[in-house]
Amino acid sequence: MATVTTPMLPRRVHNALTDLALVGPATLAMLCLIFVPAVLVAVLSFTDYQFGAKAFNWIGLENYVELFTDRTGKRAVFNTLYYAAIVIPCSMILSLLVAMGVHQVASWNKTCANIFRTSFFLPVAATLVAMATVWEMLLHPTLGLVNIVLDMIGIGGERWLSDRKLVLTTLAAIGVWETVGYNMVLFLAGLASIPRHLYEAAEIDGADRGWERFWTVTWPMLGPTTLFVMVITATRSFRVFETVATLTKGGPAFASDTLVYAMYREGFIYFKAGYASAITMVFFIFVFALTMLKVVVAERKVHYR
């Protein structure tokens, strides 16, 4: 009969060591890479620290004051909000329409619906920087396809990426292009979870036109999904960086400067760690507030009527 190996350590000690081995590395990594840095950012934002400097001064809220009074600082905040204000509604409305269309097609032809879904989702998987260079070609003032086509129709083309008034809207349009597929997938999941019998009930109640069914069943049932999509789209648009860095570098004349790009520029080109930290904090507070909004609204269960 096989013998039993006796352990050297009491069970409790052994278990504790096992737990430490399992959880310890990840916990340590989380502390070192997320929580300590997050606290450090908050601390740095009250200093005038520069990368490489030997010392720094505590300057209180000066970085924040600068961000909200200085022209470029104000611009970055305003531009980010402006960008989000375009991307959020446009992307949401378009993706909801697309999702409803694909959902409808799926009810009679799965293959066709899958092809559409794949097509709309493709921009999400693609490398944004590469695609941005393509957009640059498409939007080229003289050689770009967009302007050539507009010319043919008889509308004068624009300098999409170098016109100060237009540049942010152009970037937002690319942002919409990039996020529609993502949101569509989320909406599709929401639509798939609406029970069929609700539509049948609505039909019996006389809401048999597509439009009526949308307002009586689809829209109220999509409430939680919509909120969810909104928060995600908002967080993603606050983070806009790739297109700015590739296409405009915040220009012309800071017309397309955004928070994350400003943070990059101030922090890692001009090495103003303190100021960059303050920008980071403002960005973080935006994102955090949004998430809290979602939590609060979800807690109150406003949706589902």
Partner: protein, 379 residues
């Protein structure tokens, strides 16, 4: 030999096991029997090393293993849910415990094991063992399937195979048959008995089905509310139940309890006046009479009315109501002439096989019913 010594287990404030002591001889078939929530699984998990007792100790072959983790105990276990590894095929499921026991870290390493000669040799051996086990359990044709492609009975066999394939100190089986349909359960019960005979291993079996326990075990421990109320052979439990509850729990037919008053050794109750072989000190006793030792008799005075007769082919049961309204069940071995519903009948029973319990404590009184001096109707 596996020994539990004064095991106590608490979850927070609630005590789930209290003073559990049990000795399991090598090669025996021991059953832990009890109602749901009585602590059987917890006991089994403590034996396996999956749970640690709050106090008390677990000994395996004279060695204290209370602090040893499951992996160090070399015990095999079959779970009620079978717990097959969903991502491995049947072969993989059965091989894994072998590989874990017999191979070192290097030999188990994913790619290296193809190169090391020792690993290849062992793997070869393992495959032979797996195949012989599969042959024994008649699951050879399933070796390449995933658990999700198996029926309940097949999963059961694979789970058995996974336990059988190595050479463990003991097999622990936690209600292994409860997810099977009645017919398959009967068949597997037979196979388990054979398996026990053939392997000669220690089996510790958990069930809430007394018939299963009675038919398979060398030793049964009856759990109630976290304590063992009685342990012994099936025969002991049937013939000498330690408490009223045990008497009620054991047996195919629910035992009849007849409340009686006592004076010295004279017992009075609805079935008449009886004399015990010794005087008892308590005021009331309960006489337990199994339906299968009762008879309808024409010799005693009429004391019951037949309310219902159920016919099963090989036997029948009759339910009678006594004058005080109590219902009594009787098993009729002779099914050629069944009593009419509504007819009046006399009742008698084998006096020596009646059990006497203290009405207050429910404990068995070590006395026998010696004689019936007067039956009820004559009163």
């Amino acid at each position: 030999m596996i020994e539990l010594r004064n095991i106590k287990r608490q979850f927070g404030q609630t005590t789930v096991l209290e003073d559990i002591s049990l000795t399991v001889e090598n090669g025996s078939f021991t059953t832990l029997l009890g109602a749901s929530g009585s602590g059987k699984s917890t006991t089994l998990r403590i034996i396996a090393g999956l749970d640690t007792p709050t106090s008390g100790s677990v000994m395996i072959n004279g060695q204290d293993v209370t602090q040893a983790p499951a992996a160090a105990r070399n015990i095999a276990m079959v779970f009620q849910s079978y717990a097959l590894y969903p991502h491995m095929d049947v072969r993989g499921n059965i091989t894994l415990p072998l590989a874990m026991r017999n191979m070192n870290r290097l030999e188990r390493a994913p790619l290296l094991n193809k190169l090391l000669p020792s690993a290849r040799q062992k793997a070869q051996n393992h495959q032979e063992q797996v195949e012989s086990i599969a042959r024994m359990l008649e699951i050879e044709h399933l070796l390449a399937r995933k658990p999700s492609q198996l029926s309940g009975g097949q999963k059961q066999r694979v789970a058995m195979g996974r336990a059988l394939v190595r050479d463990p100190v003991a097999f622990l089986l936690d209600e292994p048959l409860s997810n099977l349909d009645a017919k398959l359960r009967g068949q597997m019960r037979g196979e388990l008995i054979d398996l026990h005979k053939r392997t000669g291993k220690t089996f510790i079996y958990v069930t809430h089905d007394q018939a299963e326990a009675m038919s398979m075990s060398d030793q049964i421990a009856i759990f109630m509310h976290g304590v063992i109320v009685q342990k012994g052979t099936p025969h002991d439990l049937y013939e000498r139940p330690a408490t009223k509850e045990v008497a009620a729990f054991i047996g195919d037919h629910p035992i009849n309890f007849i409340e009686c008053s006592v004076e010295g050794n004279v017992v009075r109750g609805p079935l008449g006046i009886f004399v015990l072989d010794e005087a008892v000190s308590c005021q009331n006793v309960v006489i337990g009479v199994r339906p299968e030792v009762m008879e309808l008799s024409s010799e005693t005075a009429v004391n019951g009315k037949v309310e219902r007769v159920e016919y099963f082919g090989s036997k029948a049961t009759a339910s009678l109501s006594l004058s005080n309204g109590q219902m009594i069940q009787v098993v009729l071995e002779d099914t050629s002439t069944l009593p009419e519903t509504g007819s009046a009948c006399g009742l008698s029973f084998e006096l020596s096989r009646a059990h006497v319990f203290d009405a207050q404590t429910g404990l068995r009184l070590d006395v026998k019913v010696a004689a019936c001096v007067q039956d009820a109707a004559a009163e």
